[in-house]
């Protein structure tokens, strides 16, 4: 392999392929490493131009020595006077360069050894003016040289842009000049130079280069190692962000870049840059505000105000509500609201404002923002309805608790504060109590926490004021050394429901001073504790130890005793993890529980992997109870047991009692699947009720299953072969599900779905079920149920595909709309539709909702097959039909041909067909009949009874 770096460049190549401009200022020790990284490049045709910014150490002498050692490849220059930045030396380097391409390198960084070869290859094959590669930040003083890729999503694959307009994020995020290779003639022709006399010169230079480049190629190759030194005494420019002067320069550079974009007509880029400014640049500085004094805050606001005015209002729509709110409050210098809002910016799930409801929407705050500007912009920014705060109970809220008083005397701290009370979630008459809790930050040490009662709690409307004192000298007993940091939280009990808060120090310098403590290990470990504010702004306490102890401890921790203790601790943790792991449990199931005798009349029920008490397993269970059979019932639950039957034994899914029950049961009854790895004993009968007929392809008809190797397919088949009985509601199920699961004919039980017995009964009944009253539905309104199928697109909130407020305004006087989303697709309804649109997603069982609904709106959900049994109008809102059918796994039949109701694609069409339910009843009567015949022929209303008759009749009491 070509590993000889000292080989001179090809003699015929008078012009080097690449010039690397290395700039240096007072960095004599690292300069040789940087230069060596260039000389060791796999591409040989590379020259180095070192430019010294008039260092006061030996940097220039080192540079000259390097040039003397490599006369053909290294040249050294020195500026006549120090420029104080990176711009002037780099500009000088551009002038001295001879290579076809130019790359910039700082004296404290290095190039990856293939960098020049890869940049050159890309430049030559695409003809790009500018090639950019991946930069990696290397934290050289971290324990394991932590590496963080710089905006890696821009560099996932090779791509060539004809213009920067194709990828605005490149200009907006990757503002470095150093991970790039520029065609030298391009720099000269377009007169591209770094600004001099101002920091952040990279931002402007890279923006200019991006905007001017005729073609840009991005390569996924790592080209540049940016060495980051965090513990350095003199922090580099980009780290000293608490200096207001720096910030002023940053804003100046922003202005210049904006001007450049405006001149070039790149308005779309300015928009993306605005979004990033709100989301990233501003946030960086805002987070520091609570720790800064008033003078700083005002200067900061003055510097940003004009700039914020230049930001397109539309950019506020592209960021999270809290980003927009903070920017808006900053622009108005509304400090009283801004500082709490910053708390939410830092602790994203915290609610730091009392909020208010107006005209059916939820707003962050008013203070003139809602109607002050005349164009409705403030109102739009302050609207936080979509965050769903109004739907949360107090125990699910993380409330801001601002520390307003801190005093210490004789070992006791006296604390006072105010807890935010959003939307009056804590009612005025509520019974309040509270306690302060101190706990060691290190999780493994939370053996003991220390609690102190909150002496007074006062409801003050938008806040709950509290006062407490804690005798830390006597009441807090840390171990010492290992538990140096103690966090504090305040638990507030509201009518017996507990919500937990953290104490936020809202002003700098509020909590200071030392308190005596007595560590348990030894008094030598520490004798004082002092308050501190965490990075997230919360009050905590730190043990202050003696310096000698510190040194002693360091020796112990890093020496043999520490290593021994640490490895012992890790081993113990590993053993514990192994004992509670899934593998161990599965072994326990097979090797211990399955050796116990099968217990007669033990039945384990499960619905949707334990998430619900619902569906056919529930219907069978209730029929068994109704008939008064003698048997032992076990219901499995995951999450919370609330809502499960009290007359059955409840076991948590995957717990040892669960596994034991399954191993010993005579019957398994579920509608989805028991854990795949559990083998069913031959003497256990598994009745698989399944949970719906299929429109979408299932099982071995799904691409995902087909792709599995033969061995994995056989494994999968074994889990399916556990089914002794599989419930069938029509021959369609036989052609689809039974075939897709490769079930044997003898397992098929053609009895219909037990869960649908209730629907068959409801078809005959004219009475409205009691559920209507429970949901507060007035007599004169008809009920529509919207039940879409699971969309499952990542973590994003499920957005209703129509405007609920418009729906409520149009139909609110005639219909109540129930919305049932998949449990993974969380929906937020605005307060404005209260009473007219109701979220019923948390109801365990969908069947009573179906029985209640006078009409169903769905897209592709299998509830259509069940609801059809009621012979009531159905509407198919298939707004993304082609995408769903062709881009997904495919369907068994064409819904457009066989739907027993109108299929609509747009919201307007939906409104049109919803105008009259009666019309739809008549128009689609024949289609519904056909649909039931095709998909529900065995649902006759006696499925549960048939199942019980066939399997459990001998359990009847004599």
């Amino acid at each position: 392999m070509n590993v000889d770096p000292s080989r001179p460049p090809d003699a015929t190549a008078a012009v080097p392929d690449v010039t690397v401009v290395v700039i240096v200022y007072n960095d004599e020790s690292r300069l040789p490493t940087a230069v060596q990284s260039v000389l060791a490049q796999t591409l040989r045709g590379v020259e180095v131009v070192i430019v010294d910014d008039r260092s006061t150490d030996g940097s220039y002498e080192v540079a000259r020595r390097l040039a003397a050692e490599h006369p053909e490849r290294v040249r050294a220059y020195r500026l006549p006077e120090n420029s104080g930045g990176c711009g002037a030396p780099r500009n000088h380097g551009i002038e001295q360069a001879r290579g076809t391409y130019v790359v910039f390198l700082d004296s404290d960084d290095v190039l990856e050894r293939n960098a020049c070869r890869n940049l050159l290859e890309a430049a030559e094959t695409t003809g790009a003016d500018l090639v950019s590669g991946l930069c990696v930040r290397v934290h050289v003083d971290s324990r394991s040289r932590k590496e963080v890729k710089w905006y890696p999503w821009l560099y996932e694959r090779t791509r060539t842009l004809e213009s920067i307009a194709e990828l605005p994020d490149l200009l907006v995020f990757d503002t470095l000049s150093t991970n790039k290779c520029y065609r030298r003639q391009f720099l000269l022709d377009r007169d591209l130079r770094f600004p001099v006399g101002i920091h952040y010169e990279d931002l402007l230079f890279s923006a200019q280069a991006y905007a001017a480049a005729r073609r840009i190629t991005l390569i996924p190759n790592r080209v540049y190692d940016w060495n980051v030194v965090e513990k350095a005494a003199t922090k580099s420019i980009s780290n000293r962000r608490d200096e207001i002067a720096n910030f002023a320069q940053r804003m100046e550079i922003h202005r210049r870049v904006d001007q450049l974009l405006a001149e070039q007509g790149l308005l779309e880029l300015k928009f993306h840059k605005d979004v990033k400014f709100l989301k990233h640049d501003l946030v960086l500085h805002l987070r520091d505000l609570p720790f800064r004094d008033a003078a700083y805050r005002h200067e900061f606001a003055a510097l940003t105000r004009d700039y914020l005015d230049s930001i397109d209002h539309a950019a506020f729509d592209e960021v999270e509500p809290i980003h927009a709110i903070c920017a808006h409050l900053l622009r108005g210098s509304d400090w009283d609201h801004l500082l709490p809002a910053v708390d939410t910016l830092t602790n994203r799930d915290k609610i730091s404002s009392p909020l208010l409801e107006r005209d059916g929407r939820i707003y962050w705050c008013d203070a003139g923002h809602l109607d002050g500007d005349g164009d409705g912009f403030g109102r739009q920014v302050m609207d936080v309805t979509e965050l769903g705060y109004h739907t949360k109970p107090v125990e699910k809220m993380f409330l801001r608790n601002a520390l307003t008083g801190y005093a210490e005397a004789a070992g006791t701290v006296r604390l006072a504060g105010r807890i935010t009370n959003p939307l009056g979630v804590v009612p005025p008459g509520a019974l309040l109590s509270g306690e302060l809790e101190f706990y060691a930050r290190r999780k493994s040490l939370r053996l003991q926490t220390f609690r102190f009662p909150v002496a007074t709690l006062r409801h003050e409307g938008e806040t709950i004021a509290w006062e407490a004192s804690a005798d830390l000298a006597r009441g807090l007993r840390p171990l010492g050394i290992v538990d140096a940091v103690w966090d504090v939280r305040l638990h507030l009990d509201v009518d017996g429901t507990r919500t937990t808060t953290r104490l936020t120090a809202s002003e700098p310098g509020l909590a200071t001073g030392q308190l005596p403590v007595r560590p348990r290990l030894t008094r030598l470990a520490a004798h004082h504790i002092e308050p501190e504010i965490s990075a997230r702004g919360h009050l905590c306490f730190r043990l202050v130890s003696h310096e000698q102890v510190d040194a002693f401890v360091a020796r112990g921790v890093q020496g043999p005793p520490g290593r021994l203790a640490k490895s012992g601790y890790r081993k113990a943790k590993a053993v514990r993890k192994k004992l509670t792991s899934g593998d161990t449990k599965i072994r326990l199931y097979h090797e211990v529980f399955s050796r116990l005798p099968v217990k007669k009349r033990l039945v384990v029920f499960e619905s949707h992997l334990g998430r619900q008490y619902s569906d056919s397993p529930r219907a069978i269970y209730e029929e068994m109870r109704r008939q008064g059979l003698e048997f032992e019932a076990v219901w499995s639950y995951s999450g919370s047991p609330v809502g499960f039957p009290s007359d059955a034994t409840l076991v948590r899914r995957w717990s040892l009692p669960y596994l034991q029950a399954l191993a010993r049961a005579e019957f398994w009854i579920d509608n989805q699947s028991y854990p795949l790895k559990l083998t069913k004993r031959p003497r256990t009968t598994y009745i698989q009720t399944w949970h719906g007929s299929a429109l979408k392809r299932m099982g071995f008809d799904e691409p995902e299953w087909k792709l599995k190797s033969r061995r994995r397919q056989e494994e999968q088949q074994r889990t399916l072969d556990r089914f002794d009985r599989f419930l069938i509601r029509s021959e369609h199920d036989v052609r689809t599900l039974a075939r897709a699961f490769r079930l044997k004919e003898k397992t098929l039980l053609r009895v219909g779905y037990p869960r649908n017995d209730a629907l068959v009964r409801a078809r005959q009944s004219t009475e409205r079920p009691p559920l209507a009253a429970e949901l507060g539905i007035p007599e004169d309104r008809r009920v529509l149920l919207y039940a879409p199928t699971f969309r499952g697109r990542g973590q994003r909130r499920f957005e209703l595909p129509f405007d609920v407020e418009r729906f409520a305004d149009t139909f609110g006087d005639r219909y109540v709309l129930l919305v049932r989303s998949h449990y993974l697709d969380h929906v937020v309804l605005p307060p404005s539709v209260r009473g007219r649109v109701i979220d019923v997603s948390t109801h365990h069982d969908v069947t009573p909702l179906l029985a209640l609904a006078d009409g169903l709106i769905t897209d592709y959900s299998s509830v259509m097959f069940d609801y059809a049994l009621l012979d009531r109008p159905m509407f198919f809102f298939a707004y993304d039909y082609e995408e769903y059918v062709y881009e997904g796994r495919g369907t068994y039949f064409d819904l457009l041909e066989r739907a027993p109701g109108p299929v609509v694609r747009t919201e307007d069409e939906l409104h049109a067909v919803l105008g009259s339910l009666e019309k739809q009843v008549v128009k689609y009567a024949a289609a519904r009949e056909r649909f039931v015949a095709d998909f529900g022929e065995y649902d006759k209303g006696d499925a549960a009874r048939s199942v019980v008759e066939q399997f459990f009749s001998q359990w009847r009491r004599a």
């Binding site: 392999m1 960098a115 996924p220 691409p703």
Partner: protein
Amino acid sequence: MSGYPERDVFFVSNSVNELGGVTSWSHQMARLFTGRGHRVHVVGIAPAEVEQELGELPYRTKTLHSGRPPRPGRARRASMREQAARLTALFRAARPGAVVIVTQVWAMEWVELADTRSLTVIGMSHESYAYSKAAGRFRRVLKHYRDVDRLLTLTREDADLWIGEGLNNASYMPNPLPFMPDVPSPRTANVVVSMGRLHDQKGIDMLLDTWSEVAPHHPGWTLRIYGSGEDEELLKKQCTALGLDNSVEWMGSTGAVASALRGGSVFVQSSRGEGFPLALMEAMATGLPCVAFDCAPGVREIVRDGEDGLLAALGNTGELARRLGTLMSDKELRDRMGAAARANIQRYGTDEVVRRWEELFAFLER
């Protein structure tokens, strides 16, 4: 005439004549380089287990080990060093500017022990990134190819994935077209052709599922499945169970690839994994529009979806069936795509690929 200097080019593979795609590829390239005036040596690490007939070779071949190398351990290491010394001697005899092309990562374990200081070493991975991972070669590629001058994959997309794993020396080079028939298929017979080993990887089971959705809508059409392999019996049973015996013909393996392809109007590939599939290139060269699962970067590189063939999401037999149906029911579309396929596949013509190789040799000397 070449404009590039004549060089010594060494191909180092697991064996000189093991039956398989890599062997066919290296001897095709070796003949092409020889034709350009380069001095070619083909070196195998060990004798082949299943041999491939190569015919008269216009260059020298050499096999290092006389039998299988010893099992991993001290004896293996000693014998590797011994054979690496023979490689070193071979390399030293080369003229300046010589190039070593290591076609398989196993062979690289020997080459890295030899002295290659004055040569350019190019490593190759003749399969997709995903397949390397699935086949357990992932770690070994990362380890043994880390310091070669260039690691060549089959496509840009595969190279980018290896770069993402830290192999900054990765780049790519497509395979050349194996042959170019003078006469394309007339595309008049109602025949869909499939060609490949009857093995899980080729997904013939999914092809049969697909065909069961297509055949009822296209009476008179036949699916001809060329190839043999260990799954033959299983697949024939599946075919019967699906009731497809009347429209599927099991052809066995064939030596007459070109004429087999000429007998069809559409080519179908249903593989679970591929590298840079020669079968698609051959079918396109014969003027057949291809319908295939988009299972690898090499497939979407060869077939331009919607222009000279049609692709379906991997494993989605419904989609593959629809794509097949589209071409089977539209003769004009078949002709348009078939003609485009034959024209477009020229970009992998042997002259073009050899030119790219010679450019690469020159680039790596800069």
